[in-house]
């Protein structure tokens, strides 16, 4: 099945923010799916196999780091690039996330939603290059 639009999974517990990202991504030509909370996010990741996961770190119940761990443990999801988008600006969190396998760490205060899209584009284009090679 060829995809015409890249699928992005947004794991975010804040509905409003999730919908915002959805719109922005849609307007930029990306299909998005929202996973409300960590548990749902991981499930959907397993089921839908998106091209990229946008992960919020500060979530109740399961926090983002745990989700990251789970995604990377799972065979079906461990290769999906994860971009962390969070309020936490501390360097130690960045290091922790990157260590856990995130490809990018974006701090919300530095990146407007528009900029986030640009970052995602960059990651996806990198990956698509790879995947084209695979094809």
């Amino acid at each position: 099945m060829t995809k015409t639009k890249s699928q992005v999974l947004i794991i975010e517990d804040d509905e409003i923010m999730a919908r915002l990202y959805e719109k922005i991504f849609a307007l930029n030509g990306y299909e998005t799916v929202i996973g409300y909370g960590g548990k749902e996010g991981v499930e959907k990741a397993k089921k839908l196999n998106p091209e990229l996961i946008l992960l919020d770190l500060m979530m109740p119940k399961i926090d983002g780091f745990e989700v990251l761990d789970q995604l990377k443990k799972e065979a079906s999801t461990k290769n999906i690039p994860v971009v962390v988008l969070t309020n936490l600006a501390e360097e130690e969190n960045r290091i922790k996330a990157m260590d856990k396998g995130a490809v990018k760490y974006l701090v919300k205060s530095e990146f407007e939603p528009k900029d986030v899209v640009k970052q995602i584009k960059a990651v996806l284009s990198e990956n698509s290059e790879d995947s084209e090679a695979d094809d």
Partner: protein, 697 residues
Amino acid sequence: MKLNLPFVNKSPIDQEGAVSQSARIAFLKVLGVAIVITVGFYFLPIDYREGATTKLVIDIVTTLFGVFLLFVPQRKPKYLPIIYNALLLMLIIAVVANYRHQQADLAILAMPMLSFFLLSQAGGIVWSLIGFLVLLVGIFVYNVPELVNYTVHYLGIAGVIFYYQRIISTQVSIINQKNKQLEGANQKLRDEVKQRKKAEDKLRKEKDRIALIVSSMGEGLVVVNKKQEITVINPAAQRLLEIDSAQDVLGRKWTKVVKTYKDGEKISPKERSFNIALSKGETILTKMEKDHYYQTRNGERFPVSSITAPIISAGEVTGAVKVFRNVTREKREKEIIEKEVKERTKEVAREKAKLLASINSLPLGYFLIDPKHEISLMNPAAKDILGKEDWDFKSLKDTFGKHNIDISAFCAHCRGTNSTYGIDETDFKNKIIKIISVPVKVKRQIVGSVVVMEDITESKLLERNKDEFFAVASHELRTPLTAIRSNTAILEEYYSEKFKEKQLKEILDDMHTSSERLIDIVNDFLNVSHLEQGEVEFESEQFDIRGLTEKSIKSMSQAAIQKGLKLSIDKKPENQLIVKGDRTRTEQVLINLLDNAIKYTDEGSISVRIQRKGDYAQVEIEDTGVGISPKNQKLLFRKFQQAGEKVLARDVTQGTGMGLYISKLLVQKMGGKIFLLDSKPGKGSAFAFTLPLAKDK
């Protein structure tokens, strides 16, 4: 063995100059007589050989002479030399006459005499033998058998005389010695008498002097004998006791003359000082405080201070002497002083109480440590903070030590540097306290240190809470704000054709602008909060301030042009000015200042100047805007303050008013200063900030 020739030496007996002197005179007298007789004999044609009478006479004379010689030495030893000298002379006469007259009889007279003389003169064995030989010569040469007769006589006499001479000489010497002794004793007596006289004179002078002192003394002096009868009373005592004449009281008992009172009552004779002094031999001091009063002749009473001392001679008390004076005035003066002291003490106590009450009522903890490390004062508030009632320095030190506060180093430091020293904020038990130490000086000498503690827990927590609140609030606000802004942005960007209607478009615009503004405000708050908490990292780079300023000007030029303002930078010969700091933050400051300048200037220009000031680079931004009144100038660089003309009429379109505050924090963090150079309402303002120049040459 001595040979003392009378003409030449003194005789052995005579050792006194006086005696030999008179002997010599006597000898000369005899010599005179002898010369006469010699001459007589020589020229007189007497044939005295004839006649037994002559012989008899000669016999008697010689015997008498001999007897005379026996006794003379005993009685008048000092005539002996004369006699010997006379004898010698007679001998010489006899020999001469004999020779002249060819009379052997003279030889009879002369020879024994000569020998006798020699014997007695010399007194020694040798001379005795010589004498004896002479006799023998006489006997045999002159063939005078009678000489044997005379020889025996004279030998005997000679022997006796010889013997006596010894005794005499001894006795004479004894007598002389005794004489000398007597003389010596005499002299000693004379000396002693002289000494005694001298001592007597001295004593007399002393006595006179003492009498003078006693009579001119200001204090009264009374001497009594063993029976307490007055033997001496000086004029001062008379005066004090109102006694007209000393004769009135001399010989009378002291106890009868003067009565002593204490507390209005007469003192018993037993207790009186003279009594004690005489009976116990003690010196009694009656001081003013004892309240003793003497009663004068006329019944007046006056307070006394006295010393009564026993007079002791040869270990026995023979009397007593008292010196006393009227202490009325002293008593009065003392009372006045005591009263004053009491009042002053009361005053001091009052002040002290006030001070203590003030200290104790302070909400600040206060304790005073002296240099010996003893706690001399601790108020209730301190005990509250420290959480215990009783404290000694050691436990205090330990308690503070547990919280890493070395209290003794604290105090030593403040004492050593003679200045206040403290810690603004430190944890202590479960409180936050501010603690300062101040040296205590008394007349430039440091006598201890005062330690003041303030429990700032609440205010600090409040502050922290406030800061936390801001941080958390700002954080929480961001998310919904972003949602608003981004959504409105989407609408504006992608759905603008759906908002053709003017009103709708306006609504959308306003929502977007407001949300942007809100975000700016929140960002400012967060920024400030981060800066204040020190959570922001600053780069330490070296960059060209000129270049950065030109860049900032370029980015703001559009805004300036829009308002019709001229924005320029001065032309300076130096192309570069390298400073040390954080480039991004510096740009932030520049943008802030330029932004403000543009905001508050409606017409005219904004000029930027950069110059070197010592070790710093100074950037000045001058505008021709509304200016800032002196009152508002004081409020610049503070949090939440906009120096618009009216403090309450804040221009809400112009941001949060924290721009300058943030700039200040940033510049200070980089080691520089930011300040208002000058401002005149209606004319314009000039702001400036400095940054340290990069050190390398």
